[in-house]
Symmetry: C2
Subunit: 403 residues, 2 copies
């Protein structure tokens, strides 16, 4: 080994599909660098006072007193099954009847989406996404294929007529048909919109007609201010929907608990490729917490709190944003999507962070990042009502002084 | 939607590489079904009394009192960095100097191995593994390629001369050369053997000569009864080694904490494809636990306990197994690998579980499962000394009564 070494050529070891994926922007490019004490309107985090840290501490104490070392081994904690039972019952309550074999617990919705991409997508596969859409999902799909098609969103969610046209045209031209549509039909990230029931039906009809699957991301689906619309999965009579649920937005993202509900064959394949094994400590802790939680009451508290925060944000937007700015009024979830004609929101962000307020520029939610320049996403979930009002005032001042 | 539906054809949605992978045995086929109260000599679990459940309970209490909601969000807990620092310092102590950019925290060694497979393997890639080897790693590699080559193990670890021959022959014939060698050089799973220093040097020389990478799985590397051999990574002067470490065997597998130490380009790519995000609660809890742990003392306790258990097992094997049985004497780790000529260990297992003792049949550790029929893996890690002695006596009786 004392010969003169030729330095190893790291890149030469990557297969072509990996080399291609590495050409995209690196993961997390969208995360803004924000000074401490900034008002964080970019974070899709739950409100700190709604994160059950005291209850989690108690849950861990109870769990380890009752189960000793069991949840610290690979398998053995009975609460791994308890968590799955809880999820199954929660799906039932919402009209999505699942057998145990139709459920897979994952490390949050992101791992669920990645696993779904893993079993369905190769470089020739076609995927349809909403435009704009969740940037993490875009990052995931781009790791597998560059054949991503986009359909715009309006106030009623995905524009299904445009989807129908796209599908008809591809069929006519003999082009590869999509493997799946990725959608966040309820309290959409980033737009806050909700797909109407008519459009939901049309999505399922199109899935039948053109034989594709639907990946329904329902991370915000129980956070309606007044009611929660029926999920696509609950309307699906032919097992075409792969439903992704998550406790990140209703309990705590740091616990990394999500799930997939889909037909047994798909769940088997997802399990096959899920190679981080179970997360017994996290899953059993969550199961213990949920045993001790009145979940319906919890959801009610969340929705009341977030509705108030949203109202504060909307009022402040009315007051402080220029007349030509506009936004969708959300009926649940975490986000308000704002359009400010003539303003480049990426440039605006650097000014805004100097003034102590942050948001996410719209471009990160578009496959083609030349789009979305005049949009931004605001989160009302994390900051206090007071800070939301202050933050929007600051933002308004920055926009006005820039114009 | 009220038309007569054609049932969806689930399989039609899988790309060819996924269809091929799904032809293998399903994951976890090797996990035996064992009655309660059985003596579990199949489990590669740490000893229950060495799992720090009390300390973990205290760590969670301290963490959530000090950090409140921080470790329950996506990012924000300072202890995510603390954990990485701890790992970096641990690598340093062992002669593997890492920059932060050369480390990635993973959900255990399995996720690390899967991510490494993800960035390097496509269906045309060639991998070399030891025979026998860790069955989870075999499952992982088979999800990516069917071009897996095996090199046998003897008491001194991987037979590097055979590796040299294989490489020379493939080179001569113009065949695809391996992307990486997967090895567990220290206290090997399942054989308990340790690769000699001379062979370690030869592995690294061959990696230079034939331009391949080395995936070093060091899950047991600090569990030497007397000393811990130098890792391949510490001897690697050209960044060819991707080192995988884990806290599963030295703290608790249920926490799912492992890591990769490799050249920065590789770590960037691994991070790119790691889509379960961080696990802030698990990572910050582990960081808090380690802050309060004298790790050197902990390792000393582990190695003393496991050495005693191993001695009890070896003495019992001498006493109760037929004369023609043989095994490697381990110098650390969790396992004893036993050869019993003329005995089919898969058939033996069903008799043994009836008598209240379990082990893992050797076949599961071979790519070609027609091999290994006369071998079995025993774990001395989990059961008490008393149960180990009893379990081996039972096993001896079953073998004798079967012969």
């Amino acid at each position: 080994m004392e010969r003169c070494l030729v330095p190893m050529n790291a890149e030469s070891f990557f297969p072509n599909n990996i080399k291609a994926a590495l050409q995209n922007d690196p993961p997390g490019e969208w995360i803004p660098s924000v000074p401490v004490n900034s008002i964080r309107l970019h974070s899709g985090y739950p409100a700190p006072q709604l994160v059950p840290s005291k209850e989690l501490k108690e849950a861990v104490t109870q769990l380890l007193e009752e189960e000793k070392d069991l949840p610290l081994h690979y398998i053995g904690s009975p609460r791994i099954d308890t968590l799955k039972d809880w999820v199954r019952q929660r799906q039932d309550v919402r009209g999505m009847y699942a057998k145990n074999e139709e459920l897979l617990i994952t490390a949050g919705a992101c791992q669920a989406i990645d696993l779904i991409a893993r079993i369905f997508l190769d470089k020739d596969a076609v995927v349809v996404v909403e435009s704009p859409t969740y940037m993490e999902a875009l990052e995931i799909f781009q790791n597998y294929t560059d054949k991503i098609l986009t359909i715009p969103i309006d106030k009623d969610g995905l524009q299904t007529e445009q989807l129908a046209e796209l599908l008809a045209e591809r069929k006519k031209k003999g082009l590869t048909m999509p493997t799946f549509l990725y959608t966040i039909p309820t309290f959409h990230n980033p737009t806050g919109t909700t797909m109407t029931e008519g459009r939901r039906k049309q999505v399922l009809e199109l899935a039948e007609e053109y034989d594709f699957l639907v990946l329904e991301d329902d991370a915000y689906g129980e956070l309606g201010f007044n009611n929660n619309p029926k999920t696509l999965k609950s309307m699906d009579s032919n097992e075409r929907v792969l439903y992704v649920g998550s406790l990140s937005k209703v309990v705590a993202p740091g616990m990394r608990i999500g799930w997939v509900h889909a037909t047994e064959k798909f769940i088997q394949a997802l399990f096959w490729f899920k190679k981080d094994l179970e997360h017994p400590f996290a899953q059993a802790t969550m199961a213990t917490l949920l045993e001790n939680t009145d979940f319906i009451l919890r959801l009610r508290n969340l929705s009341e709190t977030y509705q108030k925060k949203c109202q504060v944000m909307l009022a402040a937007l009315e007051k402080h944003l220029p007349r030509n700015a506009s936004w969708f009024v959300p009926e649940g979830g975490y986000f308000v999507w704002v359009n400010i004609p003539g303003v480049d929101t990426e440039k605006l962000l650097s000014k805004a962070t100097e003034e102590g307020v942050s948001f996410l520029p719209g471009k990160y939610f578009f496959l083609n990042q030349t789009e979305g320049a005049e949009y931004l996403r605001l989160s009302f979930s994390y900051e206090s009502e007071e800070n939301i009002a202050k933050g929007i005032e600051k933002l308004g001042n920055v926009i006005v002084s820039k114009l």
